[in-house]
Symmetry: C2
Subunit: 188 residues, 2 copies
DNA sequence: TTATAAGTAAACAGATCGGTTTACTTATAA
DNA sequence: TTATAAGTAAACCGATCTGTTTACTTATAA
């Protein structure tokens, strides 16, 4: 038994290393050493490194969005508050010393082939995040919820990259201020 | 002679490949094959692959900012127009079929060590871009030019990543609309 | 008890990595 | 003409890459 545990642990380790060092730079040997799992076991669970990358991205997709949404719901009561809380949650994220930017943005940088499954997963993740923002916007009864979702999503991306590249976690505050203006403008 | 030509050509090739495939995924052999330059010659010009990466980033830093600023100046007369033109220039960039996101953002994703020279060059590039936006903002006599520079820079980052990951070059339009609001609000 | 499934450690494979060296070929300028 | 600098092609190096295989060790459940 103990089957789910091994697989899970490999994915967890993979997420950690891919986040910090990137995908090509993370070797299988290093990963297995860190995970304390033998090579045979890994290749029993995943057919290739790419399969492990897919699994890691898929797992992270679910976990991240779940945590993110929970944190947003916890931080705001009304839909408007929740929309703004997005940036507070992001701020907390940026200040984590294990913050290395968005795993999916980083993945796209290393896999540029247009039909790559890795790109597809990343695109889907962003779509699902957008869906969530759009839902909140609809709940808030704003004029054009999808437009507002576009705007707030773009602000979030900008904050993530600014926090990552320019080492400015306070980019979340800038994004929040802009977001507040846009939400106010969009309120009926 | 012909010395500058070889070095330049290696850097040009490096920029192209690093942009499209990333840094770790681009092997020296592949690069040299594409450049039509022998290995010995390359290692005569650059002490290591990392040195070539530095040189490529530095070159791209200069060229990109020069082209970007020229395009912005050409597209707008008044400082306000120029501030908005940033997003038009970005839009054109996003629609280039050789658009693979920002070279520096992608670099950060592969090199996470805090004191890495690659990170430093990338941080500097973003700083210099910010400086330019801040200059334009000052010329436009807005209330808080540096705050506006923070905001517009963040919007630009957001647009770049959205165009790259979600394959939506029209993110530039979204960013421009938000930018217009912020500029208008900041006008004295 | 014993068959089975899942694990480990480690050798191995072939390719590729970054980087060096050797032998030969230009081109140029004194 | 000839010394020099810069180039090429290709062999070579040790390390590392992804992935496979072998031999042995658990743990579990019939």
């Amino acid at each position: 038994m103990a089957r789910p545990s091994r697989r899970e642990h490999l994915i967890e380790t993979a997420i950690t290393l891919f986040c910090e060092h990137g995908y090509h730079a993370t070797g299988i040997d290093m990963l297995l050493d860190k995970a304390g799992v033998s090579k045979k076991t890994m290749y029993q669970h995943f057919r290739s490194k790419e399969e492990l990358i897919y699994a890691a991205l898929r797992q992270y997709d679910g976990v991240f969005r779940n945590n993110f949404m929970k944190a947003v719901e916890a931080a705001g009561k009304t839909p408007e508050e929740k929309l703004l809380a997005i940036f507070d949650v992001a701020h907390t994220w940026f200040n984590d010393n294990k913050f290395f930017g968005c795993m999916f943005i980083n993945a796209i940088g290393e896999y540029s082939e247009k039909d790559s499954p890795i790109r597809e997963i990343s695109r889907q993740f962003k779509q699902l995040m957008w869906n969530y923002v759009a839902e909140l916007a609809k709940d808030a009864n704003v004029k054009e919820p999808e437009k507002l979702a576009n705007e707030l999503s773009l602000l979030l991306e900008g904050a993530i990259v600014t926090a990552q590249v320019s080492q400015k976690p306070e980019a979340a505050v800038t994004a929040k201020e802009i977001g507040k203006k846009l939400i106010d403008d969009a309120m009926v």
